[in-house]
């Protein structure tokens, strides 16, 4: 079976960066990408009144909060981001021992709203498939859009992102590690090749 994005992400997150790791985005790059995504979201949807920002735990939630901060500044009103845990909707639950649940927090009723899902890395698309299922049971949004910091390709489902921080062509043996100050002490995106 092809490794899913989350398996790769989980592995990458817990292997210390070795010599083969290559930083592709630094703090400045991430900040600029998020600012651009914020403006793109506002431009596409004209204003923020019908928007609900939902991050996918764990790093997607931090990114969603940062985008909400930037959006609050631009729109001059407080916009809060929520969190959508997708654990119970995963398609690989039975392949691993039961996992701990993450916090779900929906700031607003999503019926008739435009929901923007925010995640760190888009890979197989299976996480987003699960997120769409989860949303379905919370209400009926007018539209769902997807914003990701990194799109690394290798989709296994017909899913694409509306807003992308950086397209990062990778090979399947490579790992993408997103570090954010909220959890990892620094802001960086690195690629680690299969150790030679």
């Amino acid at each position: 079976m092809v490794a899913s994005d989350d398996a790769a992400r989980a592995d990458a997150a817990h292997t210390p960066l070795d010599q083969t790791a290559r930083t592709v985005l630094d703090e400045q790059d991430i900040s600029r990408a998020l600012t651009r995504i914020t403006h793109e979201i506002l431009e596409r949807n004209r204003d923020s009144s019908g928007l609900v920002l939902l991050g996918i735990p764990t790093r997607g939630v931090h990114l969603a909060r940062r985008i909400a901060e930037r959006m609050s500044e631009v729109e001059d009103r407080t916009i809060t981001a929520g969190a959508l845990d997708i654990t119970m909707y995963r398609d690989d639950l039975r392949l691993k021992p039961a996992r701990a649940l993450e916090h779900t927090e929906i700031p607003d009723d999503i019926d008739g709203k435009v929901v923007v899902l925010i995640d760190d890395v888009l890979f197989s698309g299976r996480t987003i498939r699960a997120a769409l299922d989860a949303l379905n049971e919370l209400g009926r949004p007018k539209a769902v859009q997807l914003a990701v910091l990194i799109d690394r390709g290798h989709r296994e489902l017909p899913i694409r992102a509306d807003f992308v921080g950086k397209n990062l062509p990778t090979s399947l043996v490579e790992r993408v590690k997103v570090s954010l100050v909220e959890t990892d002490d620094l802001d960086a995106v690195a690629i680690r090749g299969e150790s030679a």
Partner: protein
Amino acid sequence: MIKNLLSAGDLDRADAIRILDTAEELLGVASRPIKKLPTLRGRTVVNLFFEDSTRTRISFEAAAKRLSADVINFSAKGSSVSKGESLKDTALTLQAMGADAVIIRHHSSGAPHRLAQAKWTKGAVINAGDGTHEHPTQALLDAFTMRRHLTGSVGGDLQGKNVTIVGDVLHSRVARSNALLLDTLGANVTLVAPPTLLPVGVDHWPVKTSYDLDSSLEKADAVMMLRVQAERMNASYFPSAREYSRRYGLDTTRLNRLPDHAIVMHPGPMNRGMEITADVADHVRSVIVEQVTNGVAVRMAVLYLLLGGAADESTTEDSSTKDRE
């Protein structure tokens, strides 16, 4: 995580907190427009009840259905058990039908252990109350309710909280499970009962005991009243119901002597007027109805953690997923 839930004593601190934290997230499902998660779709959960029960069976049934499991209800009345079928044959029948989990309530202490140890069923065994022995999910929902009211912190325990459990400890599986679990979570448990209603060997439990209710009210953070289990009493344990009620019943006078933040709990079913007066049972500080709501979330958490993942844990995968934040 353990495979079966037979005793509250099998849970270590990490497991117990994991169940409570999972329940905290699952509590939100009850307030959604669609109260269902797809997680246990295609799994079969059998409610094997040899003893009467309202809330525990319905609670487990609701929990399993909210996780999309198929539920088969079995009650001894009206089944082949009344024709003399043994526990073993009943269990083998259920196994042949493909039960992924068996939730068992039995009038004999130790029946769930027997079911799990003898490997009559391949599924997970969850103890829903065995005789006068244990009722671990009740203890978990009590601890969950206490944590929400007394500390309010996800990820935390009940360190230093004083819990007073009052009444028929001798016949209570709830008291034993609570004593074990609350000790694991760091709470100080005091059992209050007439000497005749304290079990032999209670001095080996991780609790303090007292014969006097009034002396243990002032510093209690939670008071749990136990039902006087008349159906299990084949001897005279106290002179009269009135005398029991006067010495060990919770009335408004006693309620007023509790600290302001203290909560009143009861595992149900209540004997109003016996161990608890109607005024106290319906008081704002009574969390008895909330305990039932929390029971569904806690049982969903137990079912999810026992059945939601891979059937046999491979250690390598375990280490990588455990570390995920």
